[in-house]
Symmetry: C2
Subunit: 250 residues, 2 copies
């Protein structure tokens, strides 16, 4: 296959693009993406968040966004939603019926991602955080071809099957020459609120730390399984509990 | 787009095809698929399992399969692996390096799925259980076009964002006219082994049951979060603890 000489065009007005990815689904990528964005903002950065998970857009729920979209004056660009000071955009906002499935082939999905990148007015951002879908397929290839990605954060959970998929996701990033800032381990243990005992429900065999050593990645920290983190009513924990121990990690 | 009149060719020697799907990643689809297959077998059925999650093939790990593959005498078909009496096949077994990422566009993934269906000798099966990837994309379209699927089982966890994706997965199945036998709710609560208290870490607002009512689906049962279920060393709980309460559900 002839390698197309693709020129990566930066997004006007965006200084850095940070991908939050994993390889495995359901490990907490969207949760980490939202809280990371809020943590950067708490440090005085101007931040946006793009939900690139077309089949399962969680950002509108995690930030309780309504799906009213507006265009700029000459109707050429979509104005991103604003919430807690973040500029946000997601495929979920383009759908009329939020319960409808987007059953599209890869080609169509990639065209839509390009629209979310080029047709939304992202100007004035220090960092655009991109919440990636699970797997290592069309969306990742398109993002890495279209955008000059500054770096990525990888999320895993402790289980061996999760680590196996995360290894694949990480080797993809290396192939695409996207720098990896480090790895966050989520759902590491559950501390019983009644008797205080720590339960390692998803295992405690340090396979995530071993993977970091094998692939020379930085282990950025771990988050417990905790019902405050599992917040689906639009108030991410960095926003609602800025002084809690997990917010400090961010 | 002209609707191609696609003829669904059954797989020679397979009576029924059952898809285990979700819409959301990391909810326990592979875990349910493996244990469901073992439960059918315990009832005297001849069962196979096909791992259609090309980007994250978990079946080889959950069943501790080695990746030595053999062809039949005239080298036209691949012989599936046998484990605990199940015939198994996964994309993970075709890869030389299990840590390598499969970074393919949708078209290539679909060609491989067709190979796993048509080039593997599945004969003599009552039921072939297909473990589907997350999302609602290329693989689902190809499976529904290629195969006469008899029915599906949908897996969800209690969180609102999971239910939102599962609704999309379920409406896709309805669009494809694939019958839905029902829904299993996984990771419903955690019972502390020390003090016995039930903790609803992922919420307890019955949104899964409400969804079943909205979409007239059968609620087949729920599984707790439990470290015996989180088994990644190749001994699924229906096999290792056939008399436990969760095995009984299957
Ligand atoms: N550490 C945690 N403890 C409890 N719930 C969590 C935790 N991390 C994530 N969740 C919940 O799990 C669900 C899945 O997380 P999500 O961020 O959507 O994962 P992904 O984006 O990887 O699919 C969400 O409902 C989220 O609130
Ligand atoms: N009820 C449960 N309790 C504890 N761990 C579980 C449970 N269900 C699944 N797991 C673990 O969670 C991980 C993800 O499950 P998996 O079946 O791979 O999900 P999916 O196929 O939906 O991505 C696996 O390591 C599995 O062992
Ligand atoms: Zn306790």
């Amino acid at each position: 296959q002839r390698k197309k000489r693709i020129v990566k065009k930066p997004i006007p007005g965006v200084k850095h693009i940070l991908c939050v990815t994993s390889g495995k689904g359901g490990v907490g990528k969207s949760t980490v993406a939202v809280n990371l964005a809020l943590a950067f903002q708490a440090c005085g950065k101007k931040v946006g968040i793009l939900d690139a998970d077309i089949n399962g857009p969680s950002i509108p729920k995690l930030l309780a966004l309504d799906n009213e979209l507006h265009l700029n004056e000459n109707e050429t660009m979509i104005i991103p939603k604003e919430k807690y000071g973040l500029k946000c955009m997601s495929m979920g906002l383009l759908l009329d019926d939020e319960n409808a499935a987007v059953v599209w082939r890869g080609v169509l999905i990639c065209d839509t991602i390009k629209e979310l990148i080029r047709k939304v007015n992202w100007s004035g951002l220090d960092i655009l955080v991109v919440d990636c879908p699970p797997g290592t397929g069309d969306v990742h290839i398109t993002l890495s071809q279209e955008l000059p990605v500054s770096g990525s954060v990888v999320v895993s959970t402790p289980q061996d099957v999760a680590v196996a998929d995360v290894r694949k996701g990480t080797s993809m990033l290396k192939e695409m020459k996207i720098p990896i800032f480090g790895l966050i381990q989520n759902m590491s243990y559950f501390e019983c609120p009644d008797c205080g005992k720590k339960n390692y429900i998803f295992g405690n065999n340090d396979s995530v730390k071993r993977m970091c050593k094998d692939m020379s990645l930085d282990f950025l920290g771990e988050l417990p399984l905790n019902s405050t983190i599992n917040d689906d009513n639009g108030k991410p924990f960095v926003y609602s509990q800025p002084d809690s121990s997990y917010s400090k990690i961010f």
